[in-house]
Amino acid sequence: MKGHIFITFLFLLLISLSSCDSRSVKQISVEVPAGTVVPDGMVYIPAGEFIMGDAEEPGTQGGKLVKTVAYLIDLYEVTHEDYKKFRPEHSFHPKRASWPVALVPYADAESFCQAEGKRLPSETEWEKAARGTDGRKWPWKIYIDHPNNGFSGFMPEPVDKRQDWISPYGVYGMGHNVWEWTTDDYTPVGREGKFKILRGGLLQSHLTIKFSPVWFRNWMNPDGKLNFIGFRCAKDV
């Protein structure tokens, strides 16, 4: 092809929701411009508008159209195994090597991404990668029953386990597993201090489904080291 050679990424798991597996997520076909290198384990998110927030959810962007440039984002949350390459002293149970790393404060997450030649995503980038362009509420689009029954804890899973819960760009873990650090600062109205916005789902915790919509925002002291907070990296194109 003249001028540009286009590489097509087709994360197509289902042609339509009415055929084959009804839980599969229809994927957006993405064309990567010639000369753009997409590293292994990252996804190319094209430039353009998407619907951010929800009109009925105060504190979100209210469902308005927001434009982004193209960027790359990790396909999976950073795992224990990944993190150990950066911090050799990091220990974990061998069976949990592919679970998302947690208990990592913001600065350490940022350092990890920088060491990889990447950066943390903004919450705008995070939300677009999670919901695509059709304004969906859940990364996988269709409501699914809350799978838990009162357990008080948080149950992470391997980052690549839930292929049926991927986003329309094929990104894993946007509605479940750990919440993730983003670069956006946040100061609650009437309070002091600078916090960081967390994005994610926590679907498999004991929490209600209301914490899993793609627009849901949490915030945390950047020093926070908690078992439900992990991260993924992004990168400029």
């Binding site: 008080s152 967390l198 926590l202 439900f228």
Partner: protein, 252 residues
């Protein structure tokens, strides 16, 4: 000699890895088990929805007999020790105001005074491979932690609450306050601390639907000091809009 009568010399003589665990349930007046009994004698520590700060007790009991109480610290350490109540006041004290957040949804706030876990580490010198800590109590309760968790800022081994020695209901003589974990992790009536190289389960993971980890999850809290009005929480230590957050200086 009554081996379970607490005396510092006797205590250290009998102290060993095996006695550490055997010591705890025997040296208290644990005569009756009311866990599955609705007719708990009223003088027993038990669940009570007292205003301001509810009381929760997995194992109703009469409270600690201080004639027989001692704190045993051992396991994978260089110097196993036994401490009497008065020994604990020789440790560097810290105070903080923090909430105890119950997994049942309510929370309550108090001023806690006590010492940090580092104070004990200095004395016992744990083996580098001892990454986990198992704590037992006088009411046959037990909890399990990663060592790193106990070294987090705002984790206190508490002797005093709201300017007074801990009451019997709140864990006299010694309890843990770990504000980013649900109340069930904040073990009361502590009698032994054991360093291990592998994690153990805790009481409520063995007896109920609660996780060993017990980190407070994002959700909704019903603070007793705001008439249980539902308020959103972010997860981790609970700070409501009317709560003062600690300064940047850790532990203040």
């Amino acid at each position: 000699m009554d081996p379970f009568k607490f005396d510092r010399r006797n205590f250290l003589e009998i102290f060993s890895l095996t006695t550490l665990s055997a010591l705890v349930p025997k040296k208290i007046g644990w005569a009756d088990d009311f866990r599955n009994d609705k007719n708990i004698p009223k003088q027993y520590v038990q669940n009570r929805d007292t205003p301001g700060f509810h009381i929760r007790s997995a194992n109703p009991f009469l409270g600690v007999d201080m004639q027989n109480w001692g704190l045993a610290i051992g396991g994978m350490v260089k110097n196993p020790i036994g401490l009497a109540y008065e020994d604990l006041f020789g440790l560097k004290m810290h105070s903080q105001i923090s909430r105890l957040k119950c997994v049942e949804c309510w929370s309550a706030k108090a001023k806690w005074e006590g010492f940090r876990f580092e104070e004990l580490l200095k004395q016992v010198q744990p083996d580098p491979s001892a990454k986990f800590v198992y704590i037992q109590s006088a009411d046959s309760y037990y909890e399990s932690f990663a060592l790193e968790e106990l070294l987090q800022p705002r984790v206190l081994f508490v002797l005093r609450m709201d300017g007074q020695p801990l009451s019997r209901d709140h864990g006299f003589p010694l309890r843990l306050i770990m504000p980013f974990k649900y109340g069930y992790k904040n073990i009361k009536y502590i009698t032994s601390i054991k360093f291990l190289d592998s994690p153990k389960r805790n009481y409520w993971a063995s007896n109920g639907p609660y996780s060993v980890d017990g980190t407070i999850q994002p959700g909704v809290d019903h603070p007793l000091d705001l008439d249980k009005k539902p308020l959103p929480i972010n997860g981790g230590e609970v700070f409501h809009f009317f709560d003062e957050r600690p300064g940047k200086k850790k532990g203040v």
